[in-house]
């Protein structure tokens, strides 16, 4: 019995030790950020624009929750200073790290984007799964527009980007993975390129913004090009739908879904570094009105036709990448890993200008659907 008592007393001593009481962060005290945008304004100051979400639990109507949004902006010579400026203007704690989507204005994106992101990585509470996007204008404008029109705001944009990733329209990049690319000397990346469509007044993803080192080149790929490039990288999602026009006059098109990709990459050094990429695509036809796909000749001719068209397209795609020196494919890393002697000769900021890519595409049609 005495032993039991001492145990109980001990328990009471242990109780106040339960940690966490110091670190409680009550929902009512914080202002949840759903969307943040970063811009460069005059004199090199940064501007943060955020949408805060407030949940008001009303006493009168049986605890019904009403959601209101608030648009806030703040300037400062660094990201942290700008967020402190906002913090002063709102009640409660402003915490920019919680945003689901971060938008980079074009001026910020054209500089070193790590300058903007650094403050975020230093915060242990940051949501490293946030998506990052680039706009063709200032981030402020897009967010102001969103705060007026869309009900869901941050969620809307997040879903927009997420669904594009599922359809292999853009590279799957989060706040965490972008840091890997930023610090990698032999790899570049692309980010979703947002713009406001004037005709129907909506924010849309226009394609993928190409980056070179840590800054936006100013060029972007169309969604189809970006899907194609993702196939070359072997990083497509389960769905990768492409459409090609086979015959200009008869307007015959074929749509296909890429099921499987196999890539063969050969690098050799002559005067320049030649990269021969052989891409084999296993596709299933999802839309082809002329039909007759049960005949082997039709399949063969369609395969060769598609292979030719795609090889041509790949050529233009890689020319575009070479112009911008954007090594999204990660050839530099390939050289570092498997051809260190070549890499030693060409390494540097602009190593990509020493690389010539010769793509070749071969299409194999597989039948995976309910009809030929």
């Amino acid at each position: 019995m005495r032993k039991r008592k001492t145990e109980l007393v001990l328990l009471f001593f242990i109780l106040p030790l339960l940690a966490g009481c110091w670190d409680e962060r009550l929902l009512k005290n914080t202002r949840t950020v759903y969307l943040s945008g970063f811009d460069l304004v005059e004199e090199g100051d940064y501007q943060i624009t955020s949408i805060l979400r407030d949940m008001n639990i009303s006493e009168s109507s049986r605890g019904e929750i009403s959601i209101s949004n608030k648009l806030v902006t703040g300037n400062g010579s660094s990201i942290k200073e700008a967020s402190v400026t906002i913090d002063r203007s709102v009640a409660g704690n402003y915490d920019p790290a919680k945003g689901r989507v971060l938008i980079l204005g074009i001026d910020v994106a054209k500089g070193d984007i790590y300058n903007v992101l650094d403050a975020l990585y230093r915060d242990p509470r940051v949501d490293l799964n946030a998506k990052i996007a680039v706009t063709d204008n200032s981030a402020n404008e897009i967010i102001t527009h969103l705060s007026k029109n869309e009900v869901e705001k941050g969620e809307y944009l997040y879903e927009l980007i997420h669904s594009s990733e599922i359809n292999s329209k853009i590279q799957d990049i989060t706040l965490r993975s972008i840091r890997t690319y930023l610090f990698d000397e032999g790899k570049d990346f692309m980010l979703p390129y947002l713009s406001k469509d004037e005709s129907d007044d909506e924010v849309k993803i226009n394609g993928a913004a190409l980056f070179h080192n840590n800054s936006f080149t100013g060029q972007f790929l169309s969604p189809a090009e970006s899907t194609f490039l993702l196939l070359f990288m072997g990083k497509q999602s389960k769905k990768a739908l492409l459409t090609e026009r086979l015959d200009e006059e008869a307007s015959v098109s074929v749509s296909y879904n890429v099921k499987n990709v196999s890539r063969e990459l050969k690098l050799k050094k002559e005067e320049k570094v030649h990269a021969d990429i052989m891409l084999q695509l296993d596709v299933e036809i999802v839309d082809y009105p002329p039909n007759h796909l049960y005949k082997q000749e039709v399949i063969d001719s369609l395969e060769s036709q598609l292979s030719m068209i795609l090889t041509e397209k790949a050529d233009t795609l890689f020319k575009k990448l070479a112009e911008n020196q954007s090594d999204v494919l990660g050839l530099g890393r390939e050289l570092v890993a498997f051809h260190p002697s070549i890499w030693k000769e060409i390494k540097g900021e602009n190593y990509y200008e020493h690389i010539l890519v010769h793509p070749k595409v071969k299409v194999n049609i597989r039948n995976g659907k309910i009809m030929f």
């Binding site: 110091w22 242990p124 490293l128 989060t174 965490r176 690319y181 610090f183 990698d184 570092v336 260190p340």
Partner: protein, 369 residues
Amino acid sequence: MKVKGRISSVHLFYVLVQSVIGVGLLSLPHQTHQKAGSDGWISILITGFFIHLIVLMIWLLCRKFPNLTLFDFSKVILGKTVGTVLNFLFIMYLLTIICYIFIIYTDTLKRWILPETPGWILLLILFVLLIYGSICSIRNMLSLFSFLFLFNLLLFCITFFVYKDPSLDVRYLFPIGSNGGWNILRSTEDTFVSFIGFETLLIYFAFMKQSKSISALKGAFSAIFFITTFLMYIVMISTVMLSPEEMKITQEPVLYILSAVEIRVLSRLDLIFLSFWGLVVFTTIISYSFSASLGISNLFRIKHKFAVMLAGTFVFIVSIIFYYMEITLIEEWLKHISLIFAVIIPVLLLFITIIFKREAASTYEEKEN
């Protein structure tokens, strides 16, 4: 003083794994990367191999003195005075390691999840756990360890969620050996620190049912093998996930990677990892404090219970002082002192035993005389 309590080689496996895997796990990939770059896993492999050799030597040493711990046979080998001094130093070493674990654990927790909680609270919790966990017989400790081994496996399983990340790039491991053999070898002195804990074998072998038989060695070897594989896996997965330049600025790569993982209902897996890791660190602390208390009770001829209290209080006070004065002395010297106590001393003892033909029997003869 012969020890009681018999453990099998399976139990030895648990004890050893729990003593070794602990606080160093989180920053290991970062540390190996500093010298060995992307070849950190090779230096882990090399270290693991050397540890096998050292464990073999410890076994050869201990099998000469069945049922005697280091604190007893040191006196046999070195004579009473020198042996007692060695015992004292060894106890101090074990306690220093516990202090180190206390400080690193508190520091990591404060940086990652509990920035507002005062450090002394976390240290106090560890202190209470240390006392609670070490006042027991070796059998109780074993049942706790074999249960908590589950959490080691869970740590392993959590990392599987990383694989779906599209930025994973196996090419970061290549070219293998690019950092040069010398750098890889030099990096082993850093990786060695994450293997310390095996020197507790000097004590645990005494508890074995048949410490002379090869099965005792088997238990120890399989434990070291498991640890090597586990650490290598952790280093490899971090290397694959982070680009080389990024690794240089990431202190706890494993946590950083996990904090980005999101599965359907859960995000921030690093918090789950940290809480499991806390249990794993806890077992390391118990193992060390148990060994240290055995030594203390041997040295001062007091009961195990009081020895644990003494050890705990000492560690608590020292770690609070070191934590608040921000003394990083231990971290800098840990490499060297652990090398002395875990490698050089056992090997020296073994040589003395062989050359001067010391054996357990001689103790009793002395006593009789």
